[in-house]
């Protein structure tokens, strides 16, 4: 039982990270119906930027906000420069362009930072040693990750549901043509959506870097788990993405331990199984809306 709880704690912490990146995917999918295959690599590159700041002697609590601002701006730039021209192109074209993003950021990171893993620090003020409650060890950083996720969700909820900008963002995503007619700058809203997604992805990257090592491919696996999370939660539901993320985190943690065949090597297979199962049984995911296909 102790072990089970321990696994759930770790799984949930990882799941929060998957949920964050899934959130980024969902924010973009909801507004532009694009699955951004480059999301993970954009997050990875942001994490490297953050590492550069830290390496240059900047404090954690200065480096991270600065990185997030840069990631936000980069997200907007990517949308406006690369995505907008192909927004109405066939799906294949868009998939290819986002794959181009994947390749580009991956190889650029390898080029600039080499493949040698870099140590990434815990946030200043978070202690390394764990607390012991009965037989269970609680790692402070896990709680920190959880707190970040909750805070971010609350902030996004307030932004989307309680502000005028949020109303515009939602309207532009749901009905671009009507939005234009009430005077919303739809293109700008979509770009903002990419910016927010890029920042959310960057948070996911920065949070996971201290746990796994920072190297150019470190987000690739996380991206697949995030795909599974977003699929499970529903690609058009931000809360679904987070719940899906936590579910996937636990499925992976528990599956790896209790299904002997899976072990630690084949955890990615679980992601594949979840993706395919969900798409087959309930394509809209747990929280998504079933869309009626029109001819």
């Amino acid at each position: 039982m102790t072990e089970f709880i321990q696994l759930v704690l770790a799984g949930t912490a990882n799941g929060c990270i998957y949920g964050l990146l899934a959130l980024a995917l969902v924010l973009i999918y909801r507004s532009t119906h694009i699955i951004n295959f480059g999301q993970g690599e954009m997050a990875m590159f942001s994490t490297y930027i953050c590492w550069s700041f830290l390496n240059a002697g900047m404090g954690y609590w200065l480096a991270v906000p600065l990185t997030l601002i840069l990631a936000f701006a980069a997200g907007i730039a990517v949308q406006r420069v690369l995505i907008r021209p192909v927004q109405n192109a066939p799906e294949l074209t868009i998939v290819i362009v986002t794959l181009g993003l994947y390749l580009f950021f991956n190889s650029l990171a390898l080029w600039i930072y080499s493949g040698v893993p870099k140590p990434f620090p815990l946030p200043t003020g978070i202690r390394q040693a764990s607390w012991q409650v009965g037989d269970i060890f609680i790692i402070p950083y896990h709680l920190f990750i959880f707190a970040v996720l909750i805070t971010l969700m609350a902030a996004l909820y307030l932004l989307f549901q309680r502000t005028k900008l949020g109303l515009g963002l939602r309207a532009a995503a749901a009905q671009p043509a009507s939005s234009r007619l009430v005077g919303i700058n739809v293109n700008w809203m979509l770009a903002l959506g990419w910016g927010i997604a890029a920042a959310a992805g960057a948070i996911a990257g920065i949070l996971s870097a201290p746990v796994v090592q920072l190297e150019p491919n470190f987000m690739a696996t996380i991206l697949i788990f995030s795909f599974a999370s977003a699929t499970l939660g529903g690609f058009d539901s931000p809360p679904g993405a987070v719940v899906g993320g936590i579910a996937i985190g636990n499925i992976v943690a528990l599956g790896g331990r209790y299904i002997e065949f899976i072990g630690t090597q084949l955890d990615i297979v679980l992601a594949l199984v979840v993706i395919v199962t969900v798409l087959l049984i309930r394509p809209a995911g747990l929280f998504g809306r079933q869309v009626v296909q029109r001819v």
Partner: protein, 427 residues
């Protein structure tokens, strides 16, 4: 004068840009671009590729001009010329040993691998280009081919010739079966599902150590016997691969032109309408997956034979992405594009790796995005468009023609498909 007129590229605005890039490339002899910080190293390969492309395009225009007397005789002459073109391509590959050393960076082995890429890409062109089914998972089938060979060799000492027959069967059946869940997935979801398939294959191969040799892989070096040319294995494997590729291309072209291809395009363009006309959508989609899988499996087995080594890390997810990138750059909805795609995937990484270990992927990414913006049907599509444009430009001066501008809307191999209803059954 007529030739110049045909170069009036109101549609093909991209060509002048290419010519400029070509000039930049030529000027590299005198100007040291490498001295320019940050991007200097990149200028030459990009300009070089653009130069190559513009040479191809200009050659296309010149050919359209020189062949005008023949072409003007009518569609039959045009068809005959097309066969001459195919003949030239086949001859180019057939006489490869004579001049392979003259081609920079080329060798018989590299050409062999390039042709194996072409085989995969042709399958992808059918599946994705004509069938509209995005697959990021062809690397998985390639791996299945490779492991069919390796396991056959390891466990039963199976002659590799048999593996070449079995591999496409296994990969084809698996592809066909994977087509079943794929029926439910659309667009980006399908890309997602197939991508996760590609990601899974490496850890699976590592897991089943007792068959696959785990991380170490299966070494077959020097143990695959050949009936002749024992002293020149490269040549033997090259011709084996090339011959198989020729058969694959003929098969693909026939599939494309026949009932299967028409049905596939109909499904891509309007699935509901196709289904309403009696096309068995599920069967055709699954068959397309099966064929693409079989081609990839065949190429994977061939690759194992030539490299004489199979290991999990050869089949990373990047391989799958490279196949799709090659298909897209060559021209996704064209059969001939596979030739360009295969050569591109073999030689561009090879040429650019000298800049930096990760330069090939970065350059590919940039080329990929540029191609998507400028040539949606890839290089093959671009050349086809250039050809048709040159042709229509040359026809401008026909006596008595009142219209001065012939605006041909060129849609490459995208002819409107009318599915015939006379067949009943599956067609």
């Amino acid at each position: 004068m007529e030739l110049l007129r045909s170069l009036d590229y109101r549609r093909n605005w991209f060509l002048p840009l290419l010519v400029v890039a070509g000039l930049v490339w030529l000027s590299a002899r005198w100007v040291d671009y490498g001295a320019i910080p940050a991007v200097g190293d990149l200028i030459e390969p990009f300009a070089g590729m653009a130069a190559l492309l513009s040479i191809l395009a200009i050659a296309t225009v010149v050919a359209a001009y020189l062949l005008r007397p023949v072409l003007d005789r009518g569609p039959q002459a045009e068809r005959a010329l097309r066969w001459v073109g195919y003949g030239l391509i086949v001859a180019f590959f057939a006489f490869m040993p004579l001049y392979v050393e003259l081609i920079p960076h080329a060798s018989m082995l590299k050409m062999t691998v390039a042709i194996q890429f072409m085989i995969v890409i042709v399958g992808l062109n059918l599946l994705t280009g004509f069938g509209g089914q995005i697959s990021l998972g062809q690397g998985a089938f390639f791996a299945i081919g490779g492991y069919t060979l390796a396991i056959g060799f390891r466990e039963w000492d199976l002659p590799w010739g048999w593996s070449l027959l079995i591999a496409p069967l296994i990969a084809g059946v698996l592809g066909f079966l994977i087509g079943i869940p794929a029926l439910r997935f659309k667009g980006p979801y399908l890309a997602l599902a197939t991508l996760s398939l590609a990601v899974t294959i490496t850890p699976l191969a590592k897991k089943f150590e007792e068959f696959t040799g785990g991380v170490q892989g299966v070494v077959m070096f020097g143990k695959l016997g050949v009936p002749f040319w024992q002293d020149n294995l490269d040549r033997f494997f090259y011709y084996t691969t090339a011959l198989i590729a020729l058969l694959v291309f003929i098969l693909a072209a026939n599939l494309r032109r026949g009932r299967f291809g028409r049905a596939l395009v109909a499904i891509r363009d309007n699935e509901v309408a196709a289904s309403a006309m009696g096309v068995n959508v599920a069967l055709y989609k699954m068959t397309a997956f099966g064929i693409a899988g079989a081609f990839a499996g065949l190429a994977g087995a061939l690759n194992g034979v030539v490299i004489q080594f199979v290991s999990p890390d050869q089949y990373s997810v990047l391989l799958s992405i490279r196949f799709l990138v090659g298909a897209v750059i060559g021209g996704i909805a064209t059969i001939n594009g596979a030739i360009i795609g295969g050569l591109f995937q073999q030689f561009v990484p090879d040429v650019t790796v000298s800049i930096n270990k990760s330069a090939p992927d970065a350059i590919q990414a940039i080329i990929l995005i540029v191609v998507m913006y400028t040539m949606r049907y890839g290089v093959a599509g671009f050349l086809q468009e250039t050809w048709r444009y040159a042709r229509s430009g040359l026809r401008l001066r026909k006596p008595g023609a009142g219209v001065t501008v012939v605006e041909t809307v060129v849609v490459v191999e995208e002819e409107v498909v009318i599915v015939r209803q006379d067949g009943g059954g599956a067609g």
